[in-house]
């Protein structure tokens, strides 16, 4: 049994629902509420079991403000990330188009390493206002090596899956590294 610890960067444009997602995940889906825009950074810590292993991953989720895309403050806060949760709003095409920039910014913090990541399209409850096609998002995510999810934090739908996926990917990475350590001597 091993407990891993991962620094998880939550990134995406303002108002896409990053804080709502992180807080719902923290409270195990107890409540959905409105959040005002994040100033600075919030930290959400939660342990996620890795299925079929007895192992777990403690996620340290860094929820920062979407308006900080170009700020240098994030460079310091995001130093040495382990996994990435990239969020956009399915009713806001611009928020999807920004994902490339967010991804670049986070990857720049982890040069030379694999950074497990997920892409999350939020607010699927607003079906009539959908502006980003699932297939389009999936194609982009695939090209970037990200796993793709859609959620509605408001309807409390699928909000756990992205984090469980990150935990699983990080755990897999640990196993691969340990296998490599065995071959050194």
């Amino acid at each position: 049994m091993v407990k891993l610890a991962a620094k998880c960067i939550l990134a995406g444009d303002p108002t896409v629902g990053k804080t709502a997602l992180a807080q719902l995940f923290r409270s195990d889906g107890v409540h959905f509420q409105n959040y005002t825009l994040t100033a600075g950074v919030d930290l959400v810590v939660k342990t996620v079991p890795v299925p079929d292993t007895g192992d777990s991953v403690e996620l340290f989720i860094f929820d920062s403000a979407g308006k900080e895309l170009f700020s240098e403050m994030l460079d310091k806060l995001w130093e040495s990330p382990n996994v990435l949760c990239l969020v956009y709003d399915v009713t806001n095409e611009q928020s999807f188009n920004s994902c490339g920039k967010w991804l670049e910014k986070v990857r720049a913090q982890a040069p030379g390493t694999t950074l497990p990541g997920v892409l999350v399209g939020n607010k699927t409850d607003l079906a009539g206002r959908r502006a980003v096609d699932s297939a389009q998002a999936q194609a982009w995510a695939l090209g970037q090596g990200l796993e793709c999810f859609e959620t509605s934090v408001k309807e409390m739908e699928s909000y756990e899956a992205p984090f469980h996926c990150l935990a699983k990917q990080f755990h897999q990475l640990y196993r691969e590294r340990v296998d490599a350590f065995h071959t050194l001597v």
């Binding site: 091993v2 891993l4 382990n82 990475l173 640990y174 350590f181 050194l184 001597v185």
Partner: protein, 143 residues
Amino acid sequence: MRQFDLCLSSEGSEVVLATSSDEKHPPENIIDGNPETFWTTTGMFPQEFIICFHKHVKVEKLIIQSYLVRTLKIEKTKSKEPVDFERWIERDFVHTEGQLQNEEILVHDGYCTYLRFIITKAFDHFISVHCVSAEGLVVSNHS
């Protein structure tokens, strides 16, 4: 006085603290004298471990075998308990793709009872430490 590896658990040394633990790769592996066994870190940095000699020693040379360590800080104390550590050594390692890092450090003023190793930066998400040995002398068998 005979010169030997002061860190070896078979000589009475012990790892008294490690910030990571995978029961398959426990910190005891660092001082078992076998580079095939190792300790792994399991998450974010910094990560550290503390070696207790259970006696007063004078370290003259440190040899660290590891993988993917980028920056290592070493602190020491002469106290009975693992407290009052003072800064001692800081090293940047080079990335050795596919083979162990093997760092030899000649040290000055190596009087101590405990050594604290802090890995502040790494080349990847996880690192391994296979062996830490310290050449030197036993000053007194009381700690």
